[in-house]
């Protein structure tokens, strides 16, 4: 007992001493699973990881609920928003009805593209100081610039008046950013793409499929020129991409012989593909990480699939469709235009007829027409069988630009006249077995509508040709307002940004 009496205070004093000796160091806690920005971007591996992050937002085209394809389809004269109810996705519904306002506009169409810009900017800022193979570094730089250009192209097309940021904005300047004119933004986009085109490879090895090539950058640049009415420059870029209509171009592009093969989900990065978004079922995405940066699925497939599809007669050859959310129902006008077209089967899933014939049943969604977008509607046999949620893991890629698109764009850039324009239009029609028709801007636009139906192009085609207001008058389209999106409300809070006109 006596001993204890002295031992304990000694122990206490010892504990005190131990703690004081290491007090400052004791408070140092090192982050795990992340890197300090200051220590990162030093080698090739880290540079590649940074580049991957910059590519990440290409998924905006067809990944996540708020994707470009279903959104732009919903606003066009070919589709309704659809979905489960009139409020299934407030943003897409309002856009389709031309009641979109600054609160309902899904912020991500703004912020996701800016995240892409930021990640490209980080790469453009950090790459010069990274020690790595110089030619590879130059390629990464070119890809980063091309990505930045692409993201800005979407931003300026959708919102027109956006801040132009070519390097990461500092915390101090964060609220002082102002919008640039669309001319300034387009000038930067052109500059970036021209820089990139000089360096980018013409082709990539199969494991790199999906990386931006010279042809992809030129195709984007062509679209960028055309959007601004710079038709000559546009035609020149497209001509390099397209080569001789119908044959293999200098970069190896060639129309697929069979239109249906474009929608074979395993026919990825085929010869017609110029700029394609990669999707994968290997992420095994579940609802907990759905729509996040680790979600690699194609959600257009899920969104446009019919609801509650039931094959009532299993002996016939009607494939079994996977259950979806019935977005982007096809309007009768497009249905009728396609009805006798060779591309009908690949484009339209006609459940109206099939259910009338008693072969199948399905649950009509909102604005149901009975016509679904077959280019993306998934079959049960195509469902992901791995872990995660089937709806979130569709592996079908989506095209941002494919050769038939650039053929028709070049023909359009050429003013819809001349032998080359005629040849380009003929090649697109001949591929599906259609006879030649005289080339004209009207016929090119009509061909684009059928060829590219449901691929998110129609709305931009109408706008480029100034026909949005007439085609969409019955939806409530207001000229001088609805050609661009409102800037999300949150972006105006405490910043120097100005809302777009009439919103």
């Amino acid at each position: 007992m006596k001993l204890k009496k002295y031992k304990l205070p000694v122990l206490a004093v010892a504990m005190l001493a131990t703690i004081f000796s290491c007090s400052e160091d004791y408070l140092e806690v090192t982050p795990t699973g992340t890197f300090l920005t200051g220590n990162y971007y030093t080698n090739e591996t880290e540079a590649f990881a940074g580049l991957v992050a910059a590519y990440d937002y290409l998924r905006k085209n067809s990944g996540t609920f708020e994707n470009m394809i279903t959104m732009m389809n919903a606003g066009s004269d070919d589709h309704y928003a659809g979905g489960g109810t009139s409020t299934d996705g407030a943003g897409i519904q309002s856009f389709s009805k031309y009641t979109l306002n600054s609160i309902e506009i899904p912020d991500s169409f703004w912020s996701d593209h800016f995240k892409g810009v930021y990640r490209a900017n980080i790469m453009i800022q950090k790459l010069p100081d990274i020690s790595m193979d110089e030619s590879l570094k130059a390629r990464y730089m070119a890809e980063s610039k091309a990505l930045r250009a692409y993201y800005y192209f979407n931003l300026v097309r959708l919102f027109e008046n956006v801040p132009l940021l070519t390097e990461p904005v500092s915390t101090a300047d964060m609220y002082n950013v102002v919008q640039a004119s669309s001319e300034e933004v387009y000038a930067q986009i052109e500059l970036d793409l021209l820089d990139a085109i000089d360096v980018l490879p013409s082709t990539v090895v199969s494991s790199e499929y999906g990386r931006i090539t010279k042809g992809a950058a030129q195709a984007i640049l062509g679209k960028v020129y055309l959007e601004q009415g710079k038709n000559t420059e546009a035609a020149a870029q497209f001509a390099e991409v397209n080569g001789t209509p119908g044959s293999t171009s200098q970069y190896g592009y060639k129309l697929l012989d069979n239109f249906d093969d474009l929608w074979d989900i395993d026919n990825k990065y085929n010869s017609e593909s110029i700029f394609e978004v990669g999707h994968s079922d290997l992420a095994l995405t579940g609802w907990s990480n759905s729509y996040s940066d680790t979600d690699e699925g194609n959600l257009v497939c899920t969104m446009v699939g019919p609801r509650g599809f039931v094959d009532l007669n299993t002996t016939d050859d009607i494939p079994e469709y996977s259950s979806g959310w019935s977005f982007n129902p096809i309007l009768p006008e497009l249905y009728n235009l396609l009805k006798d077209d060779p591309r009908f089967e690949a484009t339209v899933l006609d459940l109206k007829t099939l259910s009338e014939e008693g072969k199948i049943s399905y649950t009509p969604g909102y604005q149901d027409t009975g016509y679904f977008l077959n280019k993306f509607a998934p079959l049960t046999s195509e469902e992901s069988t791995g872990a995660g949620d089937m709806w979130l893991n569709h592996r079908q890629n989506s095209y941002i630009i494919r050769l038939a698109d650039t053929y028709l764009l070049e023909a359009e850039a050429l003013g819809g006249t001349g032998t080359r324009a005629q040849a380009l239009l003929d090649a697109v029609r001949a591929r599906v077995g259609l006879a030649s028709i005289p080339v004209s801007l009207t016929n090119i636009l009509a061909e684009r509508r059928l060829e590219l139906a449901g691929e998110g192009q129609r709305w931009f085609d109408l706008r480029r040709n100034g026909t949005l207001a007439t085609k969409l008058a019955d939806r409530g389209f207001v000229a001088g307002k609805h050609e661009i999106f409102p800037i999300p409300y949150g972006e105006l809070e405490n910043t120097k940004l100005v809302q777009n006109p009439n919103y």
Binding site: I19, L27, V52, E104, R119, I122, G278, E383, G490
Partner: protein, 1019 residues
């Protein structure tokens, strides 16, 4: 002596115990008016001779109310002494020690074990609710095992506002606090002002709640058993449309938009399904058993307990229930005259099943409120059951194989709650918490105490479940079954060494405390795994032992970030004759969450008191017999922020796929801009108050405070164009809380009738005073469906005040629309039609835009109050406890307004249907062009004032002669009603709605109304 011969004298024997039946040793007994006396022995027994009939025996004991008993016979006496609630000699726990209440200079509120005795509450927060001033407590849900939102003196900061819980000296997170067994609690003290809080420095700004658990007492072994059993039901159901009413309303809405009649034969639909009856259980069982064993001798004391509590939820009880088993062992041991060691240890195992609550997106409550009443809960019609919808999908069925009905009118996140129940039945979460400490106390000389304590908290938690393949409706489908399991653990410990010395020299009394502490928590990690597509259909068959291919397995693992704090602290108490009082505190804390430049912060405070009634000039009077005036000022901090806020980090998971085979590559990019200047958030507080005894029986306690928080640490909302994946932390805002607190208690006895009342009222005002340069407001704390944000944090306003459109009645006719013009004569709402809301054009620009929104009230109550009345007469005791709030608004968001076919409450029947029919409920349309329902306006706000009769209890303690026959010392039976009535105008289930932004009702799990009977017995 001659007199004594004439009178008969007795030798009186007896026993003295406290209200728990614990014997009290050392109680002084005197025959009134004589020097004849005795003291009780170790077992509370006494013998006193020479007592005459008619004499009074006076029983007195420190801390207990003195009691007089008139001797009427020679029978032995059993005397119960009540602890003296009025005693200013009461001792309060102040952090690293105790202090006599009479010399305390800070604002501290206490709740003692006696106040909680026999109260059937499962959680400590509920025990505190309504019993102390300055503390707002609102249950997060009525679901069994749910935590409560606790706010001490308002909203201190924008982020985490949870107070610091310290259980027997161990810091315990608010999420873990549910491990405590209520009947193990000896006392709870709430430290409110900076003068009291500063001793907890950097973590004290949002208040500190000290909980002390029971210790054994010297004396005989005491065995206790308490139990209760009861049933619960929903105290209120909403009045929803029945099927016919629903069909009529849907028709009206459709026709109003030029559509067709949806339901042609309304009357044939009848009443249909009331989905509330489907989900609510009106006889949910609730039970509890608690055993305790305590005692001790001169060397050792101990307290041990075991408790088990079972509670079924009132909503889908099969998947909403809670079970807790807890064990406690506290002991102290005198090793020598100088050295004492002791320990406390609490362990709890919890198992819970829960449903999604207060969410407009799914969950059985939201489904029950919004589903159409036409769809039957169970399909019994074979024609329907054999339709392809039910035969070709994996629908859920009841025990008889009948499918649960699937609504064809209401979809999105809503589904048949009975079918949903089958998809999660049997899935549960569990946790094991072990919290304890060991201390050694050395007293080398009188007044000097060295104490060293090591504390630890260890938690394990996880979840287990199986989800079958299911089809609830077309957009809620699971095509692959899966089995999941997750386990996490967390460990934290702290070491505190203190030295204290107290000394009295004449009228000078002082004590000094020096201490240092080192704390670490967040030593944590977890793993989880899910197996998909098992070759089974039921939970019973599901097993991880099945062999599945690699692509059918997903898993995750995480490691937590340690949080470390080191501290030095000291306190000086001085008083002159217990008349002039002074306390000074200084604490220096360092936290791992701060950057090198600001790693350490100083938190000083001082306070003083003046016991005016001890002054010689104070006249002896019955009006104010005791008065203490006190005041103080101090600074506290908050480090409840995320880790590494000061660092710029690059994070992974920004992935993309290249190549034909869809290979995924991991991308890295910066998370958020860094903020190397991150500083401590400081909360300074000034408090003045007084304590008084008034008119003999009233004890009054009053406080006024101003609390200012500056440099509030918060995620800086950054514009989307910055392109960051996360938000940086910054010192972004300043806020002020000020308030008044008033506590009063009243004690009075009339013979055997004892009456005790205690009440409290608090008034609070919150104001955001700064949000940084150029920043007008912050939104995004509470968004609702398609309305967007419904609250704002704005300078000059109360935090998270409701912000929306203001209505000014309904246009009754076209003339009213045309005459609603701006100053320039333009019609303000040209597109409106009669029956639409007239919006107030607050900015006067002649049109209704976002800029016309204004502040519409605050979800934060201005007043909170509680009142407890206790009455006992002979063996009977009666208690009424009421509590409530006032001055707040509730957002009534029970209906999914974006789902046009969602059911309505019957208030819709009072809608506008023509001139003069309504001036507050607009016309119905589906398209809603005026935004009557789609815009957030005061239409959705209701007064949140309520008074709730929280507990009413009637008990009877059997006479000791009877209970002694069964060997017990005390036996009490009681019946209790909980939440019997709530007086409120609020139209939802329950006006008490917790959460980070309180008062947003998205389908709140209502608190149960319970009827219980119980038994307490002591041996």
């Amino acid at each position: 002596m001659g007199v004594s011969i004439m009178a008969q004298t007795y030798e009186i024997k007896g026993n003295v115990a406290d209200s728990n039946g614990m014997p009290l040793p050392g109680v002084t007994i005197v025959v009134k008016g004589t020097k004849n006396g005795a003291t009780t022995d170790f077992d509370g027994n006494f013998v006193i001779a020479n007592v005459q009939k008619g004499n009074s025996l006076v029983f007195s004991y420190v801390g207990y109310a003195t009691k007089e008993v008139v001797v009427s016979s020679a029978n032995s006496l059993t005397v119960v002494l009540a602890e003296d609630m009025q005693s200013l000699d009461e001792v309060v726990v102040v952090g690293y020690g105790t202090q006599k209440k009479s010399v305390v200079t800070g604002a501290i509120s206490s709740v003692k074990a006696e106040d909680l005795e026999g109260l059937p509450v499962e959680r400590v927060e509920q025990a505190l609710q309504g019993r102390v001033s300055g503390v707002v407590i609102a249950a997060d849900a009525g679901q069994p095992g749910s935590s409560s939102t606790v706010r001490v003196r308002g909203i201190t900061t924008i982020g985490t506002n949870d107070p610091l819980w310290v259980i027997d000296g161990v810091v315990v997170s608010s999420s873990t606090i549910g491990y405590l067994n209520q009947s193990d609690i000896q006392s709870i003290e709430v430290l409110k002002d900076a003068a009291s809080l500063a001793i907890y420095g950097a973590r004290a700004a949002a208040g500190v709640i000290l909980v002390t658990t029971k210790k054994g007492k010297q004396g005989k072994i005491n065995v206790g058993y308490s139990t209760f059993y009861g049933v619960s039901k929903a105290s209120k159901k909403l009045s929803l449309l029945n099927a016919s009413e629903y069909a009529a309303i849907m028709n009206e809405k459709s026709v109003a938009d030029g559509g067709s009649v949806v339901f042609s034969d309304i009357s044939s639909l009848g009443k249909g399904t009331d989905w509330q009856d489907v989900i609510f259980n009106d006889s949910a069982a609730r039970s509890s058993h608690e055993f305790s064993l305590s005692g001790g001798n001169e060397v050792s004391t101990f307290y041990a307990s075991f408790g088990i509590s079972d509670q079924e939820g009132i909503v889908l009880s099969d998947i909403s229930n809670f079970n807790r088993k807890s064990i406690r062992l506290n002991s102290t041991h005198k090793i020598s005259d100088y050295v004492k060691v002791g320990q406390t240890l609490g362990y709890a195992h919890k198992r819970s099943m829960g449903i999604t609550t207060n969410s407009e997106y799914g969950g059985p409550l939201s489904s029950a409120i919004n589903l159409d009443p036409i769809t039957p809960a169970v399909i019994t019609d074979p024609v329907v059951a054999n339709s392809s919808l039910y035969t070709s999908n994996a629908v859920m069925t009841d025990e008889d194989g009948n499918p649960y009905g699937i609504s064809s009118y209401v979809g999105q996140e809503m589904s048949n709650p009975l079918a949903y129940q089958e998809t999660v039945r049997g899935n549960y979460g569990w946790s094991d918490d072990v919290i304890g400490n060991v201390f050694v106390e050395i007293t080398p000389m009188e007044g000097l105490v060295f104490k060293s304590a090591v504390s630890g908290t260890m938690a394990y938690w996880g979840s287990e479940g199986f989800v079958p393949e299911y089809y609830l409706q077309s957009s809620i489908v699971n095509s692959q079954n899966y089995l999941y399991s997750s386990r996490s653990k967390s460990f934290g410990w702290n070491l505190e060494n203190t030295a204290s010395y107290s000394k009295s020299i004449g009228v000078h009394d002082f004590s000094v405390l020096l201490g240092q502490g080192v704390y670490i928590d967040g030593i944590s990690s977890g793993v989880g795994v899910t197996y998909y597509d098992l070759p089974v259909t039921t939970r019973e068959e599901a097993s991880f032992n099945f062999s599945v291919t690699d692509d059918q397995i997903t898993g995750y693992s995480w490691t937590g970030t340690e949080h470390k704090v080191i501290s030095l602290f000291s306190r000086l108490n001085y008083n002159y004759d217990e008349k002039y009082l002074f306390t000074g505190i200084i604490r220096r804390d360092g936290s791992s969450r701060f950057g090198d430049n600001n790693k350490f912060g100083f938190f000083p405070s001082f306070s003083a008191g003046w016991v005016t009634s001890k002054e010689s000039f104070w006249p002896e009077n019955d009006v104010v017999s005791k008065l203490k005036i006190r005041g103080g000022f101090g600074v506290t901090g908050n480090d409840a922020i995320g880790d590494f806020g000061y660092l710029a980090l690059v994070g992974g998971g920004r992935n993309y796929t290249f190549g034909e085979d869809g290979t995924i590559y991991t991308g890295y990019s910066p998370n958020a801009p860094d903020n190397p200047d991150l500083k401590w958030e400081e909360t300074s507080q000034t408090n003045i108050g007084f304590e008084a005894r008034v008119l003999e029986n009233f004890d009054v306690n009053f406080d006024y405070f101003i609390k200012k928080t500056s440099g509030i640490l918060q995620d800086v909302e950054i514009p989307g164009y910055v392109g960051a994946s996360g938000s940086p932390l910054g010192n972004v805002a300043d806020m002020k809380n000020s308030g008044l607190e008033f506590e009063v208690s009243y004690n009075k006895s009339w013979g055997d009738l004892n009456f005790r009342a205690s009440g409290n009222v608090s008034y609070l005002e919150n104001e955001v005073t700064n949000l940084g340069e150029g920043k007008e407001f912050i939104s995004g704390e509470a968004a609702f469906q398609s309305m967007g944000d419904v609250t704002r944090i704005q300078v000059g306003q109360s935090i998270n005040a409701f912000y929306g459109y203001q209505t000014n009645g309904i246009f009754q006719n076209i003339d009213e629309i045309n005459s609603y013009v701006s100053s320039t004569g333009t019609v303000i709402q040209p597109d409106a039609v009669p029956g639409d809301f007239k919006w107030v054009d607050n900015n006067g620009d002649g049109e209704i835009t976002d800029d016309d929104r204004t502040f519409l009230g605050t979800p934060l109550p201005k007043y909170t109050f509680g009142l407890t009345l206790n009455l006992d007469y002979k063996g009977f005791d009666f208690m009424v406890f009421t509590q409530g709030v006032a001055g707040n608004k509730i957002f009534q968001g029970l209906r999914r307004l974006d789902v046009t076919n969602a059911n309505h409450q019957t208030s819709v029947l009072q809608r506008w249907t023509g001139e003069g029919t309504s001036n507050d409920y607009p016309r119905l349309t589906n398209s809603d062009p005026n935004g009557n329902f789609g815009k957030f306006s005061d239409f959705y706000l209701e007064d949140g004032d309520f008074i709730r009769f929280k507990t009413i209890q009637l008990g009877y303690t059997l006479p000791s002669e009877i209970v002694q026959k069964i060997g017990a010392s005390k036996l009490r039976l009681y019946v209790t009603g909980e939440n019997l009535f709530t007086i409120t105008n609020y139209s939802g289930y329950d006006p008490e709605i917790g959460g980070s932004v309180m008062g947003i009702d998205r389908g709140y799990y209502p608190q149960a109304q319970s009827f219980m009977m119980g038994l307490n017995v002591q041996f």
